[in-house]
Symmetry: C2
Subunit: 337 residues, 2 copies
Amino acid sequence: MPLKLKDIAKALGLSVTTISKVINNYPDISQTTKKKVLEYVKQNKYKPNLQASFLRTNESKLVGIILPSLNHYFFNSVLEGLVDNAMKNNYMVIVLQSNEKYKKEKKLVEQLLNLNVDGIFITVSQETRNFDHLFEIQKNNKTLILFDKIEKSINCSKVIINDKQAAFIATEHLIKRGCKKILHFRGGLLPQISIDRFLGYRSALEHYKIPYDPKRVFICENGNDDEGYLNAKKVIEEGIEFDGLFAISDLIALGAIRYFNKKNISIPDQVAVVGFSNWKVSKLTTPTLTTINQPGKLMGEKMFDLFLKGFKANKNKEKINFETIIIPSNLIVRNSS
Amino acid sequence: MPLKLKDIAKALGLSVTTISKVINNYPDISQTTKKKVLEYVKQNKYKPNLQASFLRTNESKLVGIILPSLNHYFFNSVLEGLVDNAMKNNYMVIVLQSNEKYKKEKKLVEQLLNLNVDGIFITVSQETRNFDHLFEIQKNNKTLILFDKIEKSINCSKVIINDKQAAFIATEHLIKRGCKKILHFRGGLLPQISIDRFLGYRSALEHYKIPYDPKRVFICENGNDDEGYLNAKKVIEEGIEFDGLFAISDLIALGAIRYFNKKNISIPDQVAVVGFSNWKVSKLTTPTLTTINQPGKLMGEKMFDLFLKGFKANKNKEKINFETIIIPSNLIVRNSS
């Protein structure tokens, strides 16, 4: 059993209060007593009970992150950056997954608040339309950081990728390569990132005076590679003309490429393809995939920086200046375009 | 500020002890008082302070997992399974990464113990030779579960993949496809998984009476795809004959394939390739990759089951029967072989 304050008190013939005062560095203790206690503590490898100390300071040095999925390259990079930065600052990170479910997200927030974490990082689930549970975090005086899929109406610090601009760059690249009939395999109709990437695609077409044709836009609801494959099949079967494809994710782009390869449609000659995310896999495929690099690790690091700022301001009862950091993404050109 | 016991006591004109007794369901309280307190608690959304409750019960409902890296498909699957199962049981998981460093691993164990977690899951780092910090977990009466890279001398429950057998199956598959000059791109000399996979390779050769040639074994220390690429280059430059390759990981196999593709060496006709891990990517590459499937998610789930068993036995002061669960892996045959 670990050594407790009362054990030390008994061993040294002192009161628990005295031992506690020494350990917590109170001034009203004689140097002799202080030395005696500290030596005993050191020799006997006393470890302060952190939970007891949390009760005193109301700081748990714990933060929680709620991710939609734990098996997703981009979110894993975010997690890596967050955990790295948290560890440097002696914080620990509790990881939870919402599986894109609103009810689960709400319950997890409650659990994290019950645990008295100092801060919560959330990318809101695809189902979430009610944000009371997020306001609750702030009512509980905890630091909330939103990232990736954010909710604009909530007044807190945020870290996002400029999806619209990134999608513009991806589409512009295809246009500059000579493509005029560019397909877009988009995500669902509701998630902001899916909307923004679609808007970036449209605005690049507009900018370069290429007519927008809704027949060239296909919805991929689940985001798996089979959807890319099946939509590519649909394009061919419906006889839609195309010379380029901008896909909302690398996985969907690779699914489409799988079908094009099968049908001996030459990439990039007959169709140039651009993905999104720069998954590790995208430089290993044949052809290697042109894609948008989203620096997830950097995002995770910045998220923790914003938490620390907010937490300190909150603790010192200073006014908090909420910030939104936009992480720049860049195009990586490979053989598919 | 959250409601405290003393606030409730004040509001109802009762003592803190009475309120505490009601909340903790002590018997010696009148039904009238009980009802009064519980109604007030419900109306005012009182949340028990979990840290205070941890101090009482010595259960934190927190567990910690130390992974070498957070950006690694297999470990992310393990994490997913663990977090899923933990959440079902109302536990939360703290995630830490050792970056394969012994000192870091040791420090993280100390931090988790200070936090009073109920259990710790570790896959030991490549550098770790001294295991005192792991024994320390058990001395502190916490449940230790080792997985993947384990240390045999420690008496605790373990979850592992039978790497030797899986490597045997992978090599056997190449032999049955007619390969006689099989390269092995192995990992470093020390990690047990690297040794076991190498032993599986050798024992398959022996079993099928194919002479072992150390010239055909190449060490990939870091495990990235460039090592696969560079070693494939070395094989060609050194004029070593080959017709098969068993690589210790999909990433290394894909690096080698990248070089073979570049040199127009036909897969699987001139060289059949088998990887290890069944990364998501391995079914998206050209050619798709034959590989060993390691069910990481199942591993994570089983790890939590073993923790719960150990923790309960420990709590009830029952004898603990340590178990080692071996997760079966299987060969997935695709176009590279």
